[in-house]
């Protein structure tokens, strides 16, 4: 019998990990963006690529869009195109960091006119959500300052609250505002939403449909991220995840690549706190495939999350609780590690096949010839990237 019990299989079958459209475009560092053949040239091609990931894994039924990068004439067309490929349109991500007006802030700017422009951009995003059927408006607030004294942090915090409130008032009853925090970058002295506490304090003041987004790469060195997962679930404010991994800063590497055990601990805490299979806690990727192929990079990523979820589901919670209660440190840790160290990959391969999926999605995709096909077809036009 499989180590994946029917109960575990039922849990695994619930898993859905949203893909970001921009993961299929080119990305890089401030020093260089390396291109790849076949990179999408418009939102349709990004969605086609994203659909490939779902086709081979059944793990990624939706695609997040970034506005204005993914602006199209007809969102209805885009939605139908996506649905024909078996995926839906998901979270709408706003962008207030690439317009020259936003050099010194957007929702926090000193100038009411620029704040209004940034608010209006978010209202436009909500209009798009109404057309795409998206539930979540995700705001990554890339605002801050580079030098002490450059700005009045307190005034910005208050203006941010006003701006968010105006946006929140426009959010529909079935929609949510999700506020992402980030430790640093692109600002280097202060960031207006640098930690979960700030995001929590801001969204708690707005209302029930305002939530926190936790990007796993947006913390100080040494931060215990699963603790934050636990706390936000406890406070009822964990809205979504941006999964990726990092060694140093916001490296945006493939989830699980830098520290698989950390990913395991995070998922254990999601399950522990009732966040798994809970529609109110959205799983999403947010990565940059600077040097690796993008589509297989995304397949690898969703598989990493799936494999680690399977491991987390293996924990013998009864035995674990007994060891914890008795203060048997080594026994508790051993039960925990046993789940992590168990190799779930053969059982997962078998289970995939039982569901009509390829046992090895990476190999199946490679064999499909899709990369060669798009490299040939997508010639001319401008490759999509973080700025387009």
């Amino acid at each position: 019998m499989s180590i994946l019990t029917p109960e575990i299989q039922a849990e695994l079958a619930k898993q859905a990990i949203e893909l970001p459209s921009w993961a299929f475009g080119n990305s890089g560092t401030r020093f260089k963006v390396f291109g790849t053949p076949g990179t999408p040239r418009d939102p349709y091609e990004k969605i086609a690529d994203a659909a490939q990931v779902n086709q081979y894994t059944a793990l990624s039924p939706s695609v997040a869009l970034h506005i204005p990068w993914d602006k199209v004439d007809s969102y209805d067309d885009l939605r139908k195109y996506a649905e024909d490929l078996g995926v839906s349109l998901g979270t709408i991500n706003s962008n207030t960091f690439q317009d020259d007006d936003y050099k010194f802030g957007a929702l926090t700017h000193e100038d009411a006119g620029i704040r209004r422009k940034a608010i209006d951009h978010h209202l436009e995003c909500i209009d798009i959500m109404d057309q795409t059927g998206s539930r979540d408006l995700k705001i990554w607030l890339a605002e801050g300052s580079n030098y002490p004294g450059q700005t009045d942090m307190r005034g910005r915090q208050d203006r941010l609250n006003d701006s968010l409130r105006t946006i929140y008032e426009r959010i529909g009853d079935d929609q949510r505002l999700v506020l992402e925090y980030k430790f640093f970058e692109p600002s280097f002295y202060h960031t207006d939403v640098p930690d979960w506490g700030t995001s929590y304090a801001q969204v708690a003041s707005l209302g029930d449909r305002a939530m926190v987004c936790l990007d796993t790469g947006h913390h100080a060195p040494g931060t215990n991220i699963e603790f934050i997962v636990m706390q936000l679930l406890r406070l009822g404010k964990l809205g979504s995840f941006d999964f990726n991994s990092r060694f140093y800063a916001d490296d945006d590497l493939i989830v699980g690549a830098a520290d698989p055990f950390q990913l395991f601990r995070i998922i254990v805490e999601v399950i522990r706190g009732g966040g798994y299979g809970d529609p109110d806690v959205a799983f999403m990727l947010d990565q940059c495939h600077n040097v690796e192929d993008k589509i297989p990079g995304q397949i690898r990523s969703v598989l990493n999350v799936q494999e680690m979820t399977a491991r987390a589901l293996l924990i013998d919670h009864e035995a674990l609780r007994a060891a914890q209660v008795s203060g048997d440190v080594l026994a508790a840790n051993a039960i925990f590690m046993d789940a992590f160290y168990t190799d779930v990959r053969p059982a997962l391969a078998e289970w995939r096949e039982s569901r009509g999926l390829p046992a090895d999605p990476m190999a199946a995709f490679a064999a499909s010839g899709y990369l060669a096909k798009i490299a040939e077809e997508r010639v001319g036009g401008v490759q999509a990237g973080w700025g387009a």
Copy 2:
């Protein structure tokens, strides 16, 4: 005319920095505690030493106690002893990290009996507060775990909330519960109150008289501490400071020693947010003089805070706001730095003399012969330290 205007002098005259009794005892690292001649052997001697700091600086009118380290038969006697030396008894600090029962937690422990014991300890602290006239009960929650799986972080958070609630209910109308957070140590995997967000969420659920304590050494590398000061003041929840400085972890060095400019920025934000001269925001030291003399170490510390406050008060806020609003990054930063780089020490020396204080408190204390005197007198008995 002095660069310290009458308005600035009036602000400076308000400054009060509480000293911790334990700063006068021996402290060290896990590897070694080096002793010094003349170290206090009981709470009375600690208060005598603390009073010296105030005598030469008029900056430290109160002394915080740590229970059980500072337990005495009569707090009335201790209070009178302190008052005769010109100081009052201040914050009461509880201790739930040195009893063998607390190896796996105290207010968070799985065992209701141990939790009760820890709660009772806090109730005893409040009894002592009633006798000493102290306003604040400060709780540093040194609880956590060393290994993933060792404990159930979520359950602990809930039990913590229950325990704190029971303690809070006993707090008098003029008293406060102040909850300190700390990134890590003495636990190395998880800490139950690791960040300001957790402390804030916990105390916000208790009530108005529950506040956050910010220890400047208790953050991850790279954390923008003045941002947290700003945020907690904005949220009305900054109860007190534990001042010290650090290069790496919780080094507990003399405040301002490791990064004077950070101390400047913190005080600027305290003033900006209305926390200066505000009785609701208590300034306190929490340092370990492992290799330097303790009394002059404390004098140096309060002077560092005073000097940096004087610098912060020099900022030309009108010019700063104009530069900020106009987006002139270099001008705003220059105005900010100008205050920091101004040497306030001669003007402070003059001002001290005008108030009947020594111009150079360090030299005056050294000349007093007090250290030699206590080295001679305090022979025999057990020197006080972190554990006594």
Copy 3:
């Protein structure tokens, strides 16, 4: 057939991990040392405990001593006692951090008399090595300063070199001097040997029998430790490892507990660089079991190293090189991760049994009743700890 091929088994059979005698004594943080029943009261009892680890695992044939903690009247007796229990005496660790004279330095001290005292201590250690048959003198230089300006870092570096040279001259032809580096603690501003570069520069100036010791917990956050392993092996200067793990600072947790994947990468690089099974690269543990039982903590530790070594030996190097050369990032990473994710535990259990060892050393030791026995027997006397 086992996934552990005969070649891999042959490699695994070579593994030897030295245990530190002090791991069996009590340890803790600067705030509290929690004791455990049955803790050894003298070096003989420490060695008896260490021998237990080897008895159940055949992985730890030698025990490192710490002088003066492990001083005995007759090292000959101690050696025979150890040999009777199936272990030998290994590395001698010096101690220049617990004598009051060393408050401001030992081998680096301004005072020639104190430097001489510290040098003499090392010469005494070499005398002991001659008696115990130890090869390595390990020097952890716990020297530094807490405040900028406190000391002249350059002069200290030169004096350190002089002191080390004097010690090195006394080292026998079959002996080695191994210099450990550490990022910070117990000093908080500067440490005299803070990084591998300093240790390397110092030992390179001494001669062939002076080497670097790499403690896995002694680095800045985010440091790529396997890179340093690679570099030191390349330079021919990696003398030994102190294994442990950490989340934040020098936490001294069980090796592999905090980041198993990092341990894997380190061992991969040891093997890659010819350091595995090489007598010139000594594997040793250096951990503190603050909250867990010490003997099973050590068993868990050597098993963690063994399991991770087995994983590392599984890497398909031919396929890996092909993927690396072709620039196939995802393929190369997948081959690498495949080894890490393979569960070697069942095959290791089988292999252990084939060698007359218990399949599950943790369970076998627990069943032996040894902990209960020593708890009963070792009553009275002073429990050993870091200071004794």
Copy 4:
């Protein structure tokens, strides 16, 4: 009399800080590069801007070039143009991180052809040095990998050594090869020259004219940079500085902006180790003015270095040594801090005027109208940036 004694003035008069041509072009983060009016469009305009900095400060007599960004038809013309403006051409910086061939390495690449291409680029740089009269070839090795297993770190280190040796052999007798290290970025798992130890080991194997470049922003959090300065000077291998400052990663902020006290400590150690006024230790800036004006940003930077140098020169070394030798921690620290806290700006302004320079270079430059002039004149063409 000025606090700047004639001896100090003589030292200050020696100061020369090289400016990087690229500081005058646009730069930004991976998310956005904000442009400014008047940005140079070619190397001549960059040099014109750099000459402004020297005109107002007499601190920056030379300009570093970056190849290929600063390629021109005639370096003779460029040199004469610079000399007419009172500056010389300085360090030549190579670039092996923006060509598509270098995606997986340059001097370390698996492919001998690509390595040869990268070596040839450096030989071309040396040809240019011969024409510009530059002494130093600076190599920042932006090579590494993003994923464990992606590459063979050891093989790369050996190939790096081979490539560097080939380049070094071409270096003229009066020229130097300077190798810069960097903790991370643009690679996120491993960097081929991540620390001073690696740079030191590499250049030590080449010869006397190979040196280490220390960029103040290229270290792990918490690194004691002045210790590295001390060590490299002691080892005779500190070739040059890239000055800037940072709060988190390689923020490339204005030198002294993030932690002025750290800059002070670094310069103290430069002076202590004989590196000040020593032609073998080159001072250079390497910053990105993402949000502030570039020319005044550079003026501010050289003034920061000058002011901090003046403070460092104020240290009473005799008194400091006495305090250090006697183990008087507080006294030693106080002497050190006294120099840091002394406001040297009025005396510097006076000294500048005595030399025919403006007392306030920032104000004088602002009053000159140069920024408005170039904003008007430099219309059309492509603004220079990090990639051009």
